[in-house]
Structure formats: structure tokens, C-alpha cells
């Protein structure tokens, strides 16, 4: 019998994804991430526990969630017409409120799926992968947080001749990463800030492990570096000059760099998770605002702006 591997919760297996690797892809979103980037547009994937969305537009204030909650974590004021409030600290993730909600205003985030379920859904769009040069992207959250799972999924996908991409912050054990690299066809590898202190202060971990991993990974696999360009965090020439130096110093060049200008599409999710959004009111960054960084990196490596196509 094979040893039990630690299975993550899955928030979504999203078919027809066009921005996380080449061609038409299916993205497996793993729940749980060791970083806490304040701009994260998938905030539901930061915690590795079951989550809860509240869709205010669907709520009819019936109060059933209040009645059913064993932790008394939900309150609803009868008279002022306001919506029910959730005390997330008290929540024990029992999901009774979700089952009780008649309108779908409460939605469970994260699901326990078997490897078979995940595989079946991941390869459903095979005819589209072959035509478009697409495949499956393992994303999150952070796949390296569940190394056995990621390895197993990549291995199974390769048995089915699927192109596998792994989207990672690079923060994890080299031992894990190197094993996964045997099966992955491509890594989408984030670089966020070149200054380790600044990196640690904002996203919660230093960047030295990440940079070491990237140095080693380029020897084994095809890597596309992705840089989220965040106003007030890393959008300065010095940061990108240092990044260019770093990329130049690698043993083998990365395939390309993709600059991802800041966008605020994740804001709604923060509301639904009762989380504070740190970039409230911040407009989407325009292509022109990152052109100069592209120019800096271009001297070293092929650089594009994109990833997200919706403007």
C-alpha cells in the first residue's frame, strides 16, 4: 500500500484558463500559502483551512445561519436592516451555515477531493490542450506547501501525457522542488522584491531561500519568472536593476520574465471573506507604468507585460 500523502483542500479546478502558462489550461488551485502578500488576488487561498464566502447580494436576512451556528459566531440585528455579521475568529469551519442558507449567500471555500477526482477533472480538456499547446497548471496557494501531493499530481499527469506547469513563490525545500522538477515541464516562478528585508517585511518571509531555489532550478527546468508590479512596494528602477543583475548571474537564463501590473480584481473576494483590502481605491496599473521596468530587464532576458488580459 502506498503511504498516505497529505492532501490539500482544493478551492477550484478552473478550466479554460489562459493566463497561467501556454495555451488553454486547467488550473488546480491549492489552499494554503506560507506568504501573505497584501495584494494577493486569491486571498481565499492563503489559509489552508476551509473558508467561507459571504455573498451580500444574495442574502435575504432570514437568520437561519444565526440559528444554526454552534459557535454563536453569526449575529443579525433584527431592526436596522443590516446584514448578518460573522465573527471569523469564533468560526470552527463546520459549514452548517452553508448547508442551511437557502439562497446560496454563504459558500464554502475549499473542498477535500481525492486524487482521482482531481485527475479526472484536470484532464477533461485534453482535446483543447493538444490543439493549443496547453495543459495543467498546479497553483495555489503554494504547491510547495504540499510537496507530496504536488509531486504525485505532476507524476500522474505526466503518465497521461499532459503538459504540467507549477506556479510557485519559490519558497520551499529544495529537496521537494527538485523532485517536482523531474515531472514538471515548466515553472512559473515569482520574484517579488530583491531586497530581502523589504521582502520579509511585506510578504512575511525573506527572499534568500527563493533566490537559492531559482539558481538551482534553472539548471533542471524551464522557468518563466513572474513579477507582480505593486505600487509602493517594488515599482522602482533600483529594484529592477538589481533583478536584472541577479537574472544575469544565473547559470542558465530563465525562459522569460512576465511583468504583471497590479490589478484590483481581487477586492470583491476580500469583502466576501470579511477581510480588509489593503489596496482599496487603488486603480489598476496601466501597461505604460511598467514599460520602463520591462526595458531594464529586456537587456538580460526576454520580458513581456501581461498575464492578465482583462483590462
Amino acid at each position: 500500500m502506498e503511504p498516505q500523502i497529505k492532501m490539500p483542500l482544493i478551492t477550484n479546478i478552473q478550466r479554460y484558463s489562459l493566463d497561467d502558462g501556454p495555451g488553454i489550461r486547467t488550473v488546480v488551485f491549492i489552499k494554503g500559502c506560507p506568504l501573505h502578500c497584501p495584494w494577493c488576488h486569491n486571498p481565499e487561498n492563503i489559509s489552508n483551512k476551509m473558508g467561507l464566502y459571504f455573498h451580500a447580494d444574495k442574502c435575504e436576512r432570514c437568520g437561519r445561519c444565526v440559528a444554526v451556528c454552534p459557535e454563536n459566531a453569526i449575529t443579525l440585528l433584527e431592526f436596522d436592516g443590516s446584514l448578518p455579521q460573522r465573527d471569523r475568529d469564533k468560526c470552527s469551519q463546520c459549514m452548517k451555515c452553508v448547508l442551511e442558507c437557502p439562497t446560496g449567500a454563504l459558500e464554502q471555500v475549499g473542498e477535500t477531493l481525492t486524487m482521482d477526482d482531481i485527475l479526472r477533472e484536470s484532464v477533461s480538456d485534453m482535446p483543447f490542450y493538444r490543439k493549443s499547446g496547453g495543459g495543467v497548471t498546479i497553483s495555489g496557494g503554494e504547491p510547495l506547501l504540499f510537496p507530496e501531493f504536488t509531486l504525485e499530481l505532476a507524476r500522474e499527469l505526466k503518465k497521461k501525457y499532459v503538459h504540467v506547469a507549477v506556479e510557485t513563490s519559490g519558497f520551499g525545500d529544495w529537496e521537494h522542488l527538485s523532485k517536482i522538477a523531474e515531472y514538471a515541464d515548466l515553472f512559473l516562478f515569482d520574484l517579488k522584491h530583491m531586497n530581502s528585508l523589504r521582502h520579509q517585511a511585506v510578504v512575511g518571509v525573506p527572499n534568500n531561500i527563493i533566490h537559492d531555489n531559482l539558481r538551482k532550478l534553472v539548471n533542471l527546468n524551464r522557468v518563466v519568472v513572474r513579477v507582480p508590479v505593486i505600487p509602493g512596494f517594488n515599482n522602482d528602477n533600483h529594484n529592477f536593476n538589481t533583478m536584472a543583475e541577479f537574472l544575469k548571474s544565473l547559470n542558465r537564463p530563465v525562459a522569460s520574465v512576465d511583468l504583471l501590473p497590479f490589478h484590483n480584481f481581487g477586492e470583491k473576494k476580500y469583502r466576501q471573506l470579511d477581510k480588509k483590502y489593503n489596496y482599496k481605491g487603488m486603480p489598476n496599473m496601466q501597461k505604460e507604468e511598467v514599460t520602463e521596468f520591462m526595458e531594464i530587464l529586456k537587456g538580460t532576458v526576454n520580458t513581456t507585460i501581461g498575464g492578465i488580459t482583462i483590462q
Binding site: 484558463s17 486569491n42 477533461s124
Partner: protein, 810 residues
């Protein structure tokens, strides 16, 4: 933008005939009287003559006397009516339709009395009264509800046709007359032979009448075209002051003198000749919907002469595009006389004008040519909803043409709709077309393939067309054939009440019986109408341009050389999703009893909201889910099996064709609450095998996977709506991704796909400020419409279709 100042002006003053909720959007639209007056006059004057001769003289009387029009700026001239704002009446077809129009606000006061007199004069002679004679009162009542089936063709008067333009362009009508005269002379000579042989000779009598009628109409058409020639010259010589326009008018005069009497020589010839044929076949001889033609193939030889070789009617490529723009505006202005039910069924449109482009030639090579590109360029530059375009997709199709198809779709025109070359080609082989014939296929209406060519007149509405409303049949199957939500009458056979169906199979069986009853009721109406048409509503002009009719002496309304029958299945997904939900919650999980469900449905789910949520949450068609898909595929197989039991006029079984027209709105409103969670009166599913609006949660690839499980080759056609994100389509990689999607679509062996590309934001903005969005076009069903011409309700159903966007990292 229109390519020239001329077409800009023509577009600005185009008298659109779009309807919304059954009424014309443009309030100046009115009924004309001349056609009705002239055919009545002739009917009275020809008493006692053979019926087909009376039909021919009726058309001749119209052509000889109807007011003819040449409008400013026009390059393609001629109308089927005395004024461009008017629509004609066809009092010989349906009494109800004529009465409805005459009594409506569209009939001007000054002719109302005369129109009513004409309407009443014709009543006993109408197709309608003749057809009704073969029905019981009860049956008629059921057929007239327009709820389980569309009203019979003899009541709606709705018909369509594909005339063989090829013969007119290649031969000219004078040559046709010679051919027919030769047949006539031979026949008369044979009658003089001895010894007398009754078996050989007597069938000639009817043929002789038919041939004589054909010659009468061809001569009348030539004379009518030449009236345009004289008028153009009169304007040029007496009234026109602009020298350029004077020259144009003289050229028009020359063209109308020769067309359609002689073979076409240049592109202007061909366009004008084709237009004259269209007017007579679709608007003057009788009303017939459609604008079906392989236009790129038809026009290419003349394009070559005029644009490439410049040896006759020389012109630039831009001038050719301008000519196509002019044609599109003529079609947009062409007013048809549909019955109210069909006006409601095509919201935002005028009539079903659909031409076909692309495909594979008989020699196996790609059929796309420069004319294909020009037609697509003109569609994009002039931006009219009509005529719509179908594109025959195959791997060999040239990329520059596919890019143009993409550009039209990405711009949001809603067309071309795309049809699978091999699925459609193979289908025509089934009824005996040779491989060469089958290569020349086109869409005869919005969805169905048929053979085009010199002897391939398609009689669509009595051979194909017509609707069976599957979701309504499903609903009455729950109530012993009774319709408790719209008519309160017994609408089908008694097949038991839902509470009695203790197994899923029993429910299935009752439903299948209602389907069988419905399809038989509908097909019977078509066959009866067709039989009557041959005796009273012959179409000698169309017959005269069909090689088969000329050869055999038969009228085109009756001749069948290649059967091509189908009947539309409409509102399918509402029924199939309901079956899935019932199977799951009542028969498998036993969470609810049938009695509980029926109680909730009759309460329109009110007071049963939790239960409704459960039924809504059962997995739906379009998500590549094995449970829902298995039942749905069986459902389609059942429909195909029931259709296969029927035999039609043309000797074979009709195939089902899945689509929606605008019926999903109008007939949807006649259906009570359904087990898929839908409320009473809500729109039903909007197209063929498309997922219910908003029920496809897993994106376009999952939709295609689900849909590919249906065996499309058992169906005459299978409509699929996809709404793609405007941002995605218009982004840098839009074309590449779409090509990958289309290539996979082809591999999956699907019959059809069409796209709506407009963002929800854009559509909602157009609802707020319609005056700013006159050119925003959307795909409704097998046709496109200007969004602002649609009723709010219809607009909302379009917005509700799931917008399939890029998977932004969720």
C-alpha cells in the same frame, strides 16, 4: 464604417423592418395594397382557366402593373412593393394573417376598406381554409395554441424557398423560355402522334399547363425588369442633374434591359439579376422567407471578370465591396409579411435572410475566394444585422478568410455562425445526394443544410422548418396531456399523471408519447399544406428556373428529387435539465416525492424555496458532468427515435433539428414552473443544445465537451450559443486562442456554434442609453438583431447567457 459616402447615406435612410414583440419597430411601416389588389383582379378575371395558369397570370398582372421604384444613390434596384416603407399582403395564403394585418394600425385608413374586401373575397380560397378541412375542431385548437407545436403552415402562411439563382445567372430567362418552349413543342407533338397511348400522353396535359405557366411568368419578369430600365433612363434624361449619377442611371438602365433576360457578364449584372430573382421568388410570386445562396461561389466568376480581369463592368475591389454593402441594405429594407407568431419569434429581425460562404469545392479544394473576403469585409463595414452569414468551417479553409470570420465575430456581429463541413456534407449523402451535389451545400434557412444548384430548389417550410416545443410537451406529460398553465385544455393524448409514474421509465415513456403526438401533428400540417400548394399555389416562376421542374414539367412546390425534411426541436434543455433533476431527487435519492414536486410546481415554487434550491442545484447540462450528460444524451436519442417513426411527403422521416429561434422567449412564457428550478413564464433555454442561460459554470471547454456527447450526425442541425468575453476576443492573443478553440470544436464533430461577443457592461449601458448604441448587434438565435430593437425581456435573456471569460487566476 460604410466604405463610401453613398453607402453611408443609404444606411442613414434605410427603412429597417425589424420587429420587436411582434410589432414593427419603425412606426412608418405600413401594408401596401397593390400586390393584393392586382392578384385579386387577376383571380376574378381568370375564372375557368387552369389553376396553374391563373397563378401565372396573377404574377404577370402584378409585375405588369405594380409601381416600380428606383431610389436615390442605389446601385442595386427594385422592390417587391410600391413603397420602401411598405410590406405586401398575400391574401391567398392565410385568412388570419391578412385579417390581422388589415385590422392593425399598419393598414392605412385610405385603403382599409378595400383591403378588408380583398381579405374577405379570398377567405374561402385561402390555403388556410383548404387546410382546415382535414382537421377536427379540437386538433385545430391544439395546433393554434402555438405552445406544443407551431401553428400549421396553412395558417401562418409562413414559407421559405431557395431558388436556383445559378440557372438565371448562367442562362438568362430568354434561354429558359427557349428550353421550356422546346419541351412544350415536344409534348404537343407527342399528343399528335398515333396510335394514341393514354398512359404516355395523359400525364402531359398537366405538364403542358405547367410549362405554359412558366413561360408566362418568365416573359412577365423580363418585362418588369425592363420597366426598371425605362424608369432609370427617364430619370437620367429628364430629372437627374448630377453627371455621375446620370451615368450610373444609364448603366442601371443597360443592366435592367439585359438582366435577367440574358446571362450575367459582369459583377453588377450578376448582383442585379440575383436581386430580381430574389424579389420574385420571395416577395412577389408568393411570400417566402430566406436569402439562401452560396454567394461567394455564385459571384466569383463575375468578380473575376470585373475586378481581376476588368474585361466587363470594370471596378476596383472597394467598388465591389460597396456593391455588397448596397445589397445588404436592400435586404435590410426588404419587408416581409410574417404572421404575428413569427414576428414574435424573430425579435429584432426582419426575416430569415442567411447566406452561406466557404466550404470545400467538388474538387476537394478550399472554396474560399476573394469574393468570400469581400462579403465578410462588407458585413463588417456596413454593420447590418441582415443578411446573416453562415460559414462552412474545415481545416483547409484559408487563414485570411478565417481571420475575417473572427473579426466579424469579435466585433460583436453575432455572425458568421459556423457550421461543420463534414457533419453537414455527410448528412446530405444520406438522402441520396451524390458526393458532388453534397459538396454544394448551403443553409436553406438559419440552421439546416440543403443542396444548392441548378435543379435544387428547396421548399423549406413544408419540407423542413416548423417547430416542436419540447419543454411544453414535457410539461403536459406531467399532467396527463393537459395544459394547466397556458390554455387549460387537453393538449395531447392522455398518458397518465406524474404521481402515477413510480419509475423514471414510466415518466420517460409518457414524455416520448407526447413528443410523438406533437411531431405527428406538426408534420401532418406541413404535408397537408404542401399538397394543397401544388394544386392552388403553384410557383411557376421558380419552377421555370429549376432544371428539374423544366425537364419533368412539374411545379416546384411538389417536385422532390432529393428529400430534405426536418422539424425543429425547440426548448430542449429546459426539458432535459428537468429530467435530470427529477431522476436525481425523486427516483435516485428519493429526497422528494413526485407529489411534492408537482405541488411545488403548481405553486410556482412559492413556499417551496428550499426545495427549489435543491432542484436548481442538481448538476445541469453543459458542465461536462457524467450524470447530467448521460440522461441528456439519451433524451436526444429518444427525440431522434420518435422522429424516425414518421414518414413525410418526400418519402422519408424528418430529422430533428435543435435550435431556438426567438421562441424561447415567447413560447417559454407559456410554460409553467419546471423541475429544473425555472419559474412559470421565465424564458426557456435559448438555443438547441446550449446549456440553460447561466447554468454552464465550467467555461466554454466544458460546454463543448458536454455537447460533443450528443451524436450530431443523428440531427439535421444542432445550435450552440456561446457568449465569449469581448475583452478576450479583442485582446492580442484573441485570434490564436479562438482558432485553437475552433479547431478543437471541429475535432469534436459538433454541427454548429455561434457567438455573442459583447461585455455585460456594454449591454447594460445600451439598456440605459439605447440612442448611443444603434449599431450594437447581438446574436439572438439563428439570426442577429440590433440590441436596442429587442424588448427588455429579450435583452435580459441575452445578458443572462454566461459570459465565458478568461480564467483570470480566479
Amino acid at each position: 464604417m460604410p466604405i463610401t459616402e453613398r453607402t453611408k447615406r443609404l444606411k442613414a435612410r434605410c427603412r429597417w423592418k425589424h420587429t420587436s414583440a411582434g410589432e414593427f419597430v419603425d412606426e412608418t411601416v405600413r401594408t401596401g395594397i397593390e400586390r393584393a389588389r392586382l392578384i385579386t383582379e387577376s383571380h376574378k378575371n381568370t375564372v375557368g382557366e387552369p389553376r396553374v395558369i391563373r397563378r401565372a397570370r396573377g404574377l404577370a398582372n402584378i409585375l405588369n402593373n405594380i409601381t416600380i421604384i428606383i431610389q436615390e444613390d442605389e446601385l442595386v434596384v427594385g422592390d417587391h412593393i410600391e413603397h420602401p416603407e411598405a410590406i405586401p399582403l398575400y391574401p391567398e395564403l392565410s385568412y388570419f394573417v391578412t385579417l390581422d394585418l388589415v385590422q392593425s394600425k399598419y393598414c392605412p385608413d385610405e385603403v382599409k376598406e378595400e383591403a378588408m374586401e380583398i381579405c374577405n373575397y379570398w377567405e374561402p380560397y385561402t390555403l388556410q381554409r383548404k387546410g382546415e378541412a382535414y382537421y377536427t375542431e379540437d386538433e385545430l385548437e391544439r395546433a393554434y395554441q402555438f405552445s406544443t407545436v407551431e401553428g400549421p403552415a396553412f395558417v401562418t402562411g409562413f414559407n421559405s424557398i431557395v431558388p436556383p439563382y445559378e440557372t438565371v445567372l448562367e442562362d438568362g430567362l430568354q434561354k429558359r423560355i427557349e428550353l421550356i418552349q422546346a419541351k412544350l413543342d415536344d409534348a404537343l407533338a407527342q399528343l399528335r402522334e398515333f396510335p394514341w397511348d393514354a398512359s404516355k400522353n395523359l400525364p402531359l396535359l398537366e405538364k403542358i399547363n405547367n410549362w405554359r405557366a412558366m413561360i408566362i411568368t418568365d416573359e412577365a419578369v423580363i418585362a418588369w425588369a425592363r420597366r426598371h430600365a425605362r424608369l432609370a433612363r427617364i430619370i437620367a434624361e429628364n430629372f437627374e442633374t448630377d453627371q455621375n449619377r446620370k451615368k450610373e442611371l444609364m448603366e442601371i438602365s443597360d443592366i435592367c434591359n439585359r438582366m435577367p433576360a440574358e446571362p450575367a457578364k459582369g459583377l453588377r449584372d450578376a448582383m442585379q439579376s440575383k436581386w430580381f430573382v430574389f424579389l420574385v421568388a420571395h416577395g412577389l410570386e408568393r411570400y417566402a422567407s430566406g436569402y439562401a445562396q452560396l454567394e461567394d461561389k455564385l459571384l466569383y466568376p463575375y468578380y473575376k471578370t470585373s475586378v481581376i480581369e476588368k474585361s466587363f463592368q470594370p471596378m476596383t475591389r472597394d467598388e465591389a465591396q460597396e456593391l455588397v454593402e448596397c445589397e445588404r441594405l436592400k435586404v435590410s429594407e426588404h419587408g416581409s409579411c410574417k404572421d404575428r407568431g413569427h414576428r414574435e419569434a424573430f425579435p429584432g429581425s426582419n426575416d430569415l435572410f442567411i447566406l452561406t460562404l466557404g466550404g470545400i469545392k467538388t474538387d476537394g479544394s478550399d472554396a474560399c475566394n476573394d469574393m468570400t473576403d469581400i462579403i465578410l469585409d462588407a458585413a463588417l463595414s456596413i454593420r447590418t444585422t441582415e443578411p446573416s452569414i453562415a460559414f462552412r468551417w474545415h481545416p483547409k479553409g484559408r487563414m485570411e478568410t478565417k481571420k475575417r470570420v473572427f473579426d466579424c465575430i469579435a466585433a460583436g456581429l453575432g455572425y458568421p455562425s459556423i457550421k461543420h463541413e463534414d457533419v453537414n456534407y455527410s448528412q446530405l449523402l444520406k438522402w441520396g445526394a451524390t458526393p458532388e451535389q453534397a459538396r454544394d451545400w448551403l443553409l436553406v434557412l438559419c440552421m439546416s443544410p440543403g443542396v444548392a444548384g441548378r435543379r435544387a430548389t428547396q421548399k423549406c417550410r413544408t419540407e423542413g422548418g416548423g417547430s416542436l416545443f419540447v419543454a411544453k410537451c414535457f410539461e403536459i406529460a406531467l399532467y396527463n396531456g393537459f395544459d394547466p398553465t397556458f390554455s387549460n385544455t387537453q393538449q395531447g393524448p392522455e398518458t397518465g399523471n406524474a404521481e402515477d409514474f413510480d419509475t423514471f421509465e414510466k415518466l420517460w415513456e409518457a414524455f416520448a408519447k407526447q413528443i410523438q403526438y406533437g411531431v405527428s401533428l406538426a408534420v401532418k400540417g406541413k404535408d397537408i399544406a404542401r399538397t394543397i400548394e401544388q394544386h392552388y399555389l403553384q410557383i411557376p416562376f421558380v419552377s421555370s428556373i429549376d432544371d428539374g421542374c423544366v425537364e419533368t414539367g412539374k411545379d416546384a412546390s411538389g417536385l422532390v428529387e432529393l428529400p430534405n425534411p426536418w422539424h425543429n426541436i425547440i426548448l430542449n434543455t429546459t426539458a432535459s435539465d428537468s429530467l435530470v433533476a427529477m431522476k436525481k431527487l425523486i427516483y435516485d435519492d428519493k429526497k422528494y416525492t413526485m407529489k411534492e414536486l408537482i405541488t411545488a410546481l403548481q405553486a410556482n415554487w412559492q413556499g417551496y424555496e428550499d426545495m427549489r434550491r435543491d432542484f436548481l442545484n442538481v448538476t445541469k447540462w453543459g458542465n461536462d458532468d457524467p450524470y447530467a450528460d448521460e440522461i441528456t444524451v439519451k433524451f436526444y436519442d429518444m427525440l431522434a427515435d420518435e422522429f424516425a417513426k414518421v414518414t413525410m411527403y418526400s418519402g422519408v422521416a424528418p430529422m430533428p433539428l435543435g435550435q431556438s429561434v426567438g421562441h424561447y422567449i415567447t413560447v417559454g412564457s407559456k410554460i409553467g414552473a419546471t423541475p429544473n428550478g425555472r419559474l412559470h413564464g421565465e424564458a426557456a433555454d435559448d438555443g438547441g443544445c446550449s446549456p440553460y442561460m447561466g447554468a454552464d459554470k465550467k467555461g466554454p471547454t466544458a460546454v463543448l465537451k458536454s455537447v460533443s456527447k450528443i451524436n450530431h450526425r443523428k440531427f439535421k442541425g444542432m445550435l450552440l450559443n456561446q457568449r465569449l468575453s469581448a475583452e478576450q476576443m479583442r485582446s492580442e492573443k484573441g485570434f490564436d486562442i479562438w482558432l485553437d478553440y475552433m479547431d478543437t470544436w471541429y475535432d469534436l464533430d459538433l454541427d454548429h456554434v455561434q457567438f455573442n461577443v459583447a461585455s455585460t457592461k456594454e449591454l447594460m449601458a445600451a439598456q440605459e442609453e439605447p440612442e448611443k448604441y444603434p449599431d450594437l448587434i447581438v446574436r439572438v438565435a439563428g439570426f442577429s438583431a440590433r440590441f436596442v430593437d429587442l424588448s427588455r425581456y429579450a435583452q435580459d435573456t441575452i445578458i443572462a447567457r454566461t459570459e465565458q471569460s478568461f480564467g483570470v487566476a480566479q
